[in-house]
C-alpha cells in the first residue's frame, strides 16, 4: 500500500503540472516576435552562448558534498540502533566519525573551504 501511495503522490505532482500547462495553453494568448524569443538580459543584446565554463569553486564544493553526503547516508542505519547498543554504538562509529572529521579538517587546511 505504501508504494501505491508513493506512485499516487508522483502521479498527483505530474498531473498538477500538466493540467496547469494545458490550461495555460488553452486560456493564454499566443504570439511570436523575434525579440520576444531573446533571453532577458536587462535590455542589452545577447552576445554568445550562456553555457560558459563557470568558476571552479562550485565544483570543489560539489565534490566535497559528494564525499560527506555519502558518509551521512551510512550514519542513518547506525542512528536507529544507538538506543539498543548504548556506549558500544559510540565506539563502533568512533573510527568512522574520526575519519570523517579528519577529512573535513584536511579540506579546511588545504583551503578548499575558502571561496575562490
Amino acid at each position: 500500500m505504501n508504494f501505491t501511495l508513493l506512485i499516487t503522490v508522483l502521479v498527483t505532482a505530474i498531473t498538477l503540472v500538466v493540467a496547469a500547462y494545458v490550461m495555460a495553453k488553452l486560456l493564454g494568448p499566443r504570439s511570436y516576435a523575434k525579440v520576444k524569443g531573446e533571453p532577458y538580459e536587462s535590455g542589452i543584446p545577447t552576445r554568445g552562448s550562456s553555457w560558459l565554463p563557470v568558476s571552479v569553486g562550485f565544483y570543489l564544493f560539489a565534490i566535497l558534498f559528494l564525499m560527506f553526503d555519502v558518509e551521512t547516508v551510512f550514519l542513518y542505519p547506525w542512528a536507529v540502533v544507538v538506543k539498543e547498543f548504548g556506549a558500544m554504538a559510540l565506539l563502533s562509529i568512533g573510527f568512522f566519525l574520526v575519519v570523517l572529521v579528519l577529512g573535513l579538517a584536511y579540506a579546511w587546511r588545504k583551503g578548499d573551504l575558502e571561496w575562490k
Partner: protein, 362 residues
C-alpha cells in the same frame, strides 16, 4: 488522542464490504481521493503561505500590505493565480526546450513528495515509510536538480549564474539538514515519521525537552539550514533581485514561474512542518505530568497542535527573512562548512553520549 486511522479503515471497509468493490477499484478510488486531497491541501496551504508572507512582510515594514481586492485583500491571491493561469507560456528561442519544460516538474515533484510525509494528526499521513526521514531528504534533493536545470536550460547568463549558486548552496546545507535529522533519529530510535511523533507523546517528551541541549542545538541548526535549503532570505543569493533579476526563473512566464513560486512557499511550510514534527512533537500536545493540565491539552485536536506549531515556525522564519540582510556567497559557504557542519558533527557525538548514558528524559 483521536486516531484518524479509524476513519480511513472505516472508509476502506465501506468500499470493500458495504459496496462490495474489488481490490482494484477500492484501491483506485482511495488513491484518487488521496491525490485530490494532496492537491487541495497543497494549493490551499500555498495560498495561505503567500498571504501570510505579504501580511507579515507588511507588518515588519510598517505598511498595510494588500488591501484592495476583497475584504482586507483576502482575494488578492486568487486574482494572482488567475493572472498566472491566463498568461502565455513561451520559450526562449535558444533555450534547451526539454530541460526548460522539465525543470518545474522536478521542483514540484520534490515539493509535493516531501509535503506528503507530514504527519497531520494521529494516523493522518499520506506516506509513512519505515525509512521516512531518510526518504524525505532523498526526495527533497530532487528539487536541486529542478532548479539547476531551470537555470541551465534557460540559456540566460543571469540564470546560469543563479543555477550554480543555488546548486552549491542547497547541496551544502543538505549536509547540516541530514546531520540534524540523524541527531533526532538517535534519540527516537526510528526513522518512521509516525514513530518519531509517537516517541514525543507524554510528559516533557517533545524532542527539544527530551533531548535538552543537543536537541535544541539540532533544532536551531535545522532551522538555519532549512531556511537556506528553501532558498529564502537571508540565503536568497540565487535569486538576488538587484543583481540577477529573478535568478533561475527569469525566463519563465505564467504558470512556469507559478510553479517555482508555489514550490518556494510550500518548501517554507515543509521545512517548518518537519521542524515541528521532528523537534516540537508534531501533533503531540504539550504534557507536563499534571493530570488536570494534560487532560485539557489532550482534548485539543492533533491537527490544531500541528498547524499551530508549524505556523509559529513559519512566522519565525519570515521574521528572519525580513530582518537580516542577504549574505554573500562566500559567507554562506563559510557559515555552512566552517560553523554548522563541525557543530553538527560535535552535536551528533554529544547526542550519542546523552543517549548512551541515559541522560535524556525517559
Amino acid at each position: 488522542m483521536f486516531d484518524f486511522s479509524i476513519f480511513t479503515t472505516w472508509f476502506d471497509a465501506l468500499l470493500r464490504d458495504t459496496l462490495g468493490l474489488g481490490d482494484f477499484w477500492s484501491i483506485l478510488i482511495e488513491c484518487v481521493l488521496v491525490g485530490a486531497g494532496i492537491l487541495a491541501g497543497y494549493a490551499l496551504i500555498a495560498m495561505l503561505m503567500i498571504m501570510m508572507e505579504r501580511w507579515v512582510c507588511a507588518y515588519f515594514q510598517c505598511r498595510l500590505g494588500p488591501t484592495r481586492v476583497g475584504f482586507h485583500g483576502t482575494l488578492q491571491i486568487f486574482a494572482d493565480v488567475l493572472k498566472m493561469l491566463v498568461k502565455e507560456i513561451f520559450f526562449v528561442d535558444r533555450a534547451d526546450k526539454l530541460l526548460y519544460a522539465v525543470a518545474p516538474l522536478l521542483v514540484i515533484i520534490a515539493s509535493v513528495g516531501t509535503f506528503s510525509f507530514l504527519p497531520w494528526n494521529n494516523g493522518a499521513h499520506v506516506l509513512d515509510f519505515n525509512v521516512g526521514i531518510f526518504l524525505v531528504t532523498a526526495i527533497s534533493s530532487i528539487g536541486v536538480v529542478g532548479i539547476f536545470l531551470a537555470g541551465w536550460g534557460s540559456n540566460n547568463k543571469y540564470s546560469v549564474v543563479s543555477a550554480m549558486r543555488a546548486a552549491v548552496q542547497m547541496i551544502s546545507y543538505e549536509m547540516s539538514l541530514c546531520l540534524c535529522l540523524i541527531t533526532a533519529v538517535i534519540l527516537t530510535g526510528t526513522m518512521q515519521m509516525s514513530g518519531i511523533v509517537e516517541a514525543q507523546t507524554g510528559a516533557f517528551k517533545w524532542l527539544i525537552f527530551q533531548g535538552h541541549i543537543p536537541a535544541i542545538i539540532a533544532f536551531v541548526v535545522f532551522l538555519i539550514a532549512g531556511n537556506a535549503e528553501a532558498n529564502r532570505g537571508p540565503f536568497d543569493m540565487a535569486e538576488a533581485e538587484s543583481e540577477l533579476t529573478a535568478g533561475h526563473h527569469t525566463e519563465y512566464s505564467g504558470m512556469g514561474f507559478g510553479f517555482f513560486y508555489l514550490a518556494e512557499f510550500l518548501n517554507l511550510f515543509i521545512i517548518a512542518g518537519l521542524a515541528s514534527a521532528v523537534f516540537l512533537g508534531g501533533w503531540a500536545p504539550i504534557n507536563i505530568g499534571v493530570d488536570a493540565f494534560d487532560t485539557v491539552m489532550n482534548y485539543i485536536p492533533g491537527i490544531v497542535w500541528f498547524f499551530g506549531k508549524t505556523l509559529l515556525v513559519v512566522w519565525l522564519l519570515m521574521w528572519v527573512k525580513w530582518t537580516f540582510p542577504r549574505l554573500r556567497i562566500d559567507q554562506i559557504l563559510k557559515l555552512e562548512w566552517k560553523y554548522l557542519m563541525p557543530l553538527g558533527l560535535i552535536n551528533l557525538v554529544l547526542m550519542t553520549i546523552v543517549v548512551a548514558l541515559g541522560l535524556y528524559i525517559k
